[in-house]
Structure formats: C-alpha cells, structure tokens
Symmetry: D2
Subunit: 285 residues, 4 copies
C-alpha cells in the first residue's frame, strides 16, 4: 500500500448528546459536545468511524437508565469500548464539554443559578496500563487590576494630599473585567474529584465570582469585594495552584494539572492570559 | 412548475476578498467578508449564483488598479452590477465587514494603531429609485457603571463619615468592562460620510476609548477618565444619537440610523444591551 | 435631561438556563441561550436590567416544578411579566435557542438520536393586543446539486455514447454538502404548532436527512436517496413553503413565516443561501 | 511571597495587526491575529504585558517600511525581542494567523482568487539554542468518500446487471463535502519553506481544490475530478505526509510536522477527523 503511515488520531468531532449525570444529591441532564478518536496503524486503510458513534450511543443510552457517576467516568468508559471495538487501535481518546449549572448565593442570601462549563477527557492505551482521566471546569468571573489601582492611588494622593488618610483606607478605582479561568486535573484510579469543588477553587481565586441577579446592594458588595481583592491573571493561576495543593494533598505526584486564566481587558481590545501546565509533584517541590 | 414561490434573497455568503480602499491620505488593503443576494421571481427555478462571484471579482479587481472611494460605494457598485447581470431580479443586496485600523494617540501622546470593524451595506431596486447605501463601524471600548458607583459612594460615606469630602470629590470604584458599540448610518446620494468620523463619535460616547499599548501613566489616565464619565449602555446609545444629529445636521430626515451598544458585564456572565433603530427625522422631533 | 431619546430595545443577552419542557410523551431538559428586552421611554434614564433576570428566573423556576408546554409559550410568559415589571415599557421581546434531540430511524430501522436547534421568540405590546409568538427549528441535512448532475450526465453521455441507457437511468455524480435550513412560523393565539412537525417538514424538503450512525447499507441508502432528489437551496425553501401551506391550511393569513436554507458548498469556499420572509396570506395568493 | 509558582505562559491574546509581507513577486498586506507569551519565574509577581505589545508594534512598524520575508520570520523576530525586553523570562512564544489569497486557475483557465489561512509560530529559549519556527496553512477543499462509492457501485451492479460495464468504468455517486486540512512544518535555521508550496501540497492531496467561480463546465470538471479521486480524511493526511517527505528530502530528521484533515460530512451532523503529529525522522523510518 502506498503512503501507509500510521496516524496519531482518527475519529469524529462535534457529536452532540444529552447525558444524564449524577451530581451531589441530584441527577442533571447536560447537553454535551464530544470528540472521540483512536490511532490507526500503517497497515489499516481507514478507521471504522461509525463504531465511534455506536460506542458513544451505547454508553450514553445506558446513562438514561443509570446516570453516570461523572463526565470523566463516561469518557473513560467510551475509551475502553473504543479499544475493544477498534481491534487495530492501541490508543483511544475522548473529550467532552457542556454547560453546567450550580445554585449559588449572593452576599444578601439571594439564590442565583449560575452557569459553568464542565470539561472531561480520557485516554486509554492497550498495553494494560489503566485509563487516564481528567476533569475540569471553565468559570466566568471578575478580576480587578492591582497595578492600575496602585498608580491611581499614588496619583490621587499627590493631587489631593489632604485626602491621604481616606485614600490609604478605601479601595481606589481600577479597571476590572470579565475573566474566564479554566482548571483541569487528572483523576487517578481509585480517587474521586468533585467538579463542584474545582468551581469553588476557581471562584475563590479570582477577585469575585459573578452572579446572574444582583440587586443594588449585592452589586455594590460584589464590586467592593472585587476591589479589596485585586488580581492579575498571574495571581489567579497561582492562587488556584496553591488551593489545589492544599485540597488534594493525598493525590500522587504524577497527577497532571492545567490552570489557565484569560481576562477580557476593559482597557484593551486584546486579552491578558496566564497558564501553568505541570504535575502535582512539580508544584510540591 | 410546482412550488413556484418567489424568494426574497438568494445568493452567496462568506466570500472573502482583499479590497484596496481610499482612506483620508492613504490607500489601505482590507480583508473583507461579504454576502451578495438578489431576489428570485416565482417563474425562475434557480439563481445563477456564479454571476454574484463574477460581479464581485470584477468590481474588486478594479479596486486593485483604482482604489475604491469607500466600502459602501463598493457595495453599491456590486448591487448595480447584480441587477444588470441577473435580468430577472428586481432587488439586490450586498453586505461587507472587515478589520480596519486607525492610528490613535494615548493621553501621553503615545501612538497606537487601534483595530475597528468597518461595516457597509447597499440595496438596489430595479424600479429606477437610486441605490441605498449604509456605512457603519463597530468599536471596542470601555464603560464604567454609574449605578454601582453611586451605591458604593453612599455606602462608603455612611461607613466612613469622616471621609465625606474626599468621597464627594474623587471618583469612586464601580464595575467597568469591555463594550462593543455599533453605529450604522445611511449615506444618501450626493452625501459623503467618513467612517473615521463615526469611530470618533462612538469613542466620544463611551466612558473611554481603549488602546493596545498603555504604559502605567496612560493606563491610569484611561481608568481615571472612564470613571469621571460613567455610562450605561443606554447612555452610550443616546449620546451617539445626539452627536449624529449635531454632526449630520444637513442630512435629510429619511436617513436611517441604527445604534447598538453591548457590554460584556464584569459582574455578570451575560451582557447588557441597548439599541435604537430609527430615522434622523424621528430623532429631530 | 440631555440626550433623552427613547430606545427601541434595552436588556440582556446571552443568559443561559436549563429549562424543563413538555414534548410529546416526555419531559426534556434543554440548555437555552436567551435574550430579553423592553423598550425605554425618553423620560427614563436606565432600564432596570436585573428585573429581566428576575422574571426569567421566576418563569424558569416554575418550569422545574411544572414543565412548560412549549418554548414559545415560555417566551410569551416572560414577555408578559417583563411588561408588568417594567411599568415604563410599552414593548417586550424574548428570544431563545437551544439544542434539542429527536429519535429518528435510518432506512434499515436503526434508531439514531439526532440533534436539532429549537428557536422561539415572543413580543408583547402594552396596548392590549395579544402577545405574538414564533416557534422555529434549525435542521442540519444534506443537499445534492441538480445543475452539476445534469451537466455531468450530458458530458458522460457524449463521452460514453454506448452507456446512454445506463446514464439515463441511474443517478449521476454531483456535488453534495451539509445544509442548514431554518423554519420559523408565528403561532397565533389558540393555535398550537408542534416543533417536531417543523423538523419533519424541513427534513422532507432537503435531498436527505442526515444521521449520526450509518452502517454501510444505510450510508449507501442516504447517498442514493439524496441523488434521486437533487435540490438547490432555492428548491429547499420553496418546498418547505409548499408543505407549510398544506400542513397549516387552517392558520390565518397574517401568520408570518421565515424560511432560510444555507449550503456549505463542497465545491466552493463560500456558502449558497436562499430565503423567503412572508405571510401565509402572501403565499396563498 | 505566597503562591510563588512559576508560570508556563503569560502574555496577550487576540492582538490584531496589519502586516506587510513579501510573497513571491509581490508585497501583500495581511490582517493578522496574534498571541505572544513569555514564561514567568516564581520570583516575579507579574509579567509586563505592555512590553509584548510594544515589541509587536516595533516589529510590525518596521514591516511597513521593509516587508517581512515571511510570517514565521516575523514570529521569530518578536520572540527574540520578547526575551530581550522580559529580562526575567527564559522562554517566549508567538503565534499568528491570517487570511491569505492566491490566484489559482480552474480547468478552463479561468483565474480565481482563492482564500487560505496562513499560520505561523515561533518559540525561543534563552539558553542559546536557536529559535524554533513553524509555518503552516489551512486549506478549504473537497473530499469524496471512497467507501460509499464502492458500496453503491456494488448495489447498482446487482440492481442493474445489464449496466455492469458502464458501472465499472464511470465514477459512481458518493457523498462529498467541504474539507479543512491543516499542514504545519518546522522551518530549521538556514532553510526556507514557501507557504505557497504547502498550499499546493494540500490541494494535491484532497479529492479536488475548490474555487470561488465555477461556470458550468468548470463545475462539472471539479466534481468529476473529485470523484475520480475519492479520499478518506486518513488518505488526505497520509498523502500530505508522503508529499512532504518527497518535497523536503533535504530537511533534517528533527523537523516537526503536524497534518490534520477535517471533513464537514454531508451525511452526518458531525465531522470526520484525522491527524498525525510527528517528525520527519519518524516518517522516514
């Protein structure tokens, strides 16, 4: 056969499915967008892609009768089935992403249903080593810039020396903006990581979480809290990393972690971005 | 023939072309995304869509040798040619959008090349009435919220009564965010509207323009200026409308105007939006 | 007050919510993306946008306990509540869009869960006239080009005169492609329109529906059927219009209909597009 | 300092700039979307992101006076300057993407200006090792499915045994679709790779290139050619790999190559995907 190179990933992208998933105390239906791949040896002309959809359907169908424990477990199940069904493949990979909702409370106690993205991924190798799973969240929040705050505080103090005491004590104006932060973490065999905890870690690492409904008092509280807590995207990533180390002290060193924070800067037309891709072991050094 | 209904718009979407266009004092090459349609009578089975691309190509090719005066003139040219080439059509419509750059200056005099979107549209009818043209701009800028500022000022005054004088005088913290505002205006026969003026009108109607490069001092100035000038999206739209009335006092009453402002709220996961679609005549009442 | 123009639409965009909706024989949870607007008189400085989210939340919360009858009924409910809550407004508008799934059968009887988009819209005016509702669907399908098929048949006949009989009888090669068709129809007071019927109308008007899973035999059937049934985007729109007239013969003349079909042409980098915006009365002439 | 982890990438995303670039025989202006990052040591609180924009502006400004030789050279220049300007950084990375146009000819000799995407990337390390550069292209084309063609040929032969000779000789119907293929290749020091050659390699590896303008004869030729040349996405990737090996026989073994092909399947709502990420050395084994 000519041009018989092996291929790294062959499969389908953009498959949408409703999935029933068990969350703490309830079952939710998520609309999931998924990709599923296997590798292809040089000796095989084409991958039987319809098998990917068959596998997805069987696993998702089962979820209607018995909700899956987690999105990453669903990815892992599909990965295992892909290796069974594609007898020529040595590797399989599944990625999923979907809108997810959690009830949160504003400072005044008002309930607000907030939207997030759940992300999950699994890869499997035929060589007997267990499947690798990752779970992740994408969280929209708010960050305020520490740098502009300090420059403006200094400017104001020099312009209004008589207000020095006030300007030392109150939070000073700065630019703030919508921020999207992503946290992905490997879930080793026999461990469980709760996506809701990841959302909490991210929301505690930005200047302030955001809310769908904010009446005047709540709105002032969010803005005030965010200005007491100014953060660069660099700070957001580092604070998430620190919280992960603390929360998952029992996870092994090999666990892979990816943390990303991107701010839709209000003072620029471009975004600010920070990222760390690493292992828990590296972070613990 | 069965099912022989007339159709409102038939054509092609997503055609990309580089276009040479005359701007004040220079020629620029823009990468334009365009759509081109004609109507289709009930007696005609299909529209000859390849003619749309032929017409676009001829007009765009000419622009290489002789830069077009404006994007809306280019749309109008294509509209006229579409009616000539589609002898069965009574209506033609062309829309264009592309990235456009202008050199701006920050408060300290630093030059910064800023990106905008140019939008143009033309429609033509065979019945002898002249072609209608619209030119528009999409501008990314910054808005600061007046409402949260007032609530927080009151909260701070009641928490720190001794700082009352300071809190009255200095701008107080509030949420601010990236804002996208759009202004579209009809260009009647024998009138000319300069897109750069539309960009200026929008940038003077938001809390502050934004810049690619801001060193510390410039950054503080942008933030400070924006907080002296808090704006709801409603205010942005109204201020643009007022500036249009003043700037284009000589334009006739029938001229159609669309103004839209959308803020990527830093305190919410959703956007705030305001819009007015009207005529100059309505605004002048 | 300066710049006190009235505004056409003020509100929020991009609000995501899970919604429980009653479908024939079952309740489904859809993740809906929604926009909600009211108008704003010149005498009112700002719209109370948090009320929009409050209204949405109340109506959506109710849907958890009692699934809504339809997405357009949900839009209409929110429209009515918006006018109650924004006492200064004379107009309200709500738009929704979400992924929706239906079980379909391939030619061999294989069950396949297919994805669609549900679209709904409602507008209300304070002057006592009833709320206007629209329901719609966006359907991904397949179209084959009749024009290239005819040219190629003629070319083949002239190249292979001895195969004339065969070439007359069998379907001949042509380009085919992914097509996205949209059908929106007004639902007058006291009438009901089932979104599943709209999906069926669209799928019967394209060259062939598409399926997630196609084993070899099914795949051949889909391709064969599509080539027996070549369609321009113009034909797709006209056939949908004809089927609407037949199916909804009892709907009044004022009912507004929008039909749109866009093909991601396999032979071009741009798309082909056809549209009709009209009323049932116009179509019946 | 608390939470003082090092960060992998810190910088800006979504910066748009017009860039003058030297192409064979002409200078073209491309509108480029770019990202620029450096790493950040644990000892440094924040990255000076405005320096990234300064560096970009200086290098891009120079391109106005003296067009850059290639997009990847521009990336490499910015990478080097980033390391100079961020004295604490040990790594820099720049990515660019923009619309690019080439004049092509249809089978009848008709000239057609076709759109592509140019992609470039560079990374630099402070340790004295030379900068790594990659150039790439994204090409929209057409693929026809070999599998459905064979099934349908067999079906037709069994249905029409008298037409066996014809069915053996003429291309038989199958599904075809828009395909997006991407080829990225490392450009080692002292070598040059021409993006136009990469576009040619991709266009020769799909079933057929696509064209903006196709009159009837040309359209039939494109469809016919594509059906003589059916390809799975797997075949597209493998054929590109083979052509790269042949064309770049003098490039060293360490050169990294990424090839990807994605088809917007006309018979499915999801896409088919194949990818190989490798080195020339691996391919040569």
């Amino acid at each position: 056969m000519t041009n018989s190179f092996k291929l790294t990933r062959v499969g389908i992208t953009g498959v949408k499915k409703p999935v029933n998933i068990q969350r703490p105390g309830r079952v939710v239906t998520l609309t999931i967008n998924m990709d599923a791949f296997v590798d292809l040896p040089s000796t095989q002309k084409g991958s039987h892609m319809s098998r990917n959809v068959e596998v997805i359907n069987e696993v998702v169908d089962k979820s209607v009768r018995k909700p899956v424990a987690s999105l990453e477990a669903l990815c892992a199940d599909i990965c295992r089935s892909l290796l069974k069904r594609h007898e020529y493949a040595t590797y399989s990979e599944v990625k999923m992403k979907g809108d997810y909702f959690l009830e949160k409370k504003t400072s005044s106690g008002r309930r607000s249903l907030e939207g997030y993205k759940l992300i999950a991924k699994a890869t499997a190798r035929r060589n007997g080593i267990s499947v690798k799973k990752m779970i992740g969240v994408e969280v929209i929040g708010m960050v305020t810039c520490p740098c502009a705050m300090e420059t403006i505080r200094a400017n104001l103090m020099s312009k209004y020396p008589i207000y020095k005491e006030c300007l030392k004590e109150i939070p000073v104006i700065t630019h703030n903006q919508r921020n999207v932060s992503t946290l992905l973490i490997e879930v080793p065999e026999k461990y469980e990581i709760e996506a809701d905890d990841l959302i909490q870690i991210v929301e505690e690492s930005i200047s302030s979480p955001t809310y769908e409904i904010l009446k005047r008092g709540d709105e002032a509280d969010v803005v005030y809290k965010a200005h007491l807590n100014p953060k660069f995207v660099e700070d957001v990533v580092r604070d998430i990393l620190a919280k992960i180390l603390k929360k998952y002290a029992d996870l092994p060193n090999e666990v892979i972690v990816t943390v990303r924070s991107e701010s839709e800067e209000s003072i620029h037309k471009h975004n600010a971005f920070a990222e760390r891709v690493t292992t828990l072991g590296e972070l613990r050094k």
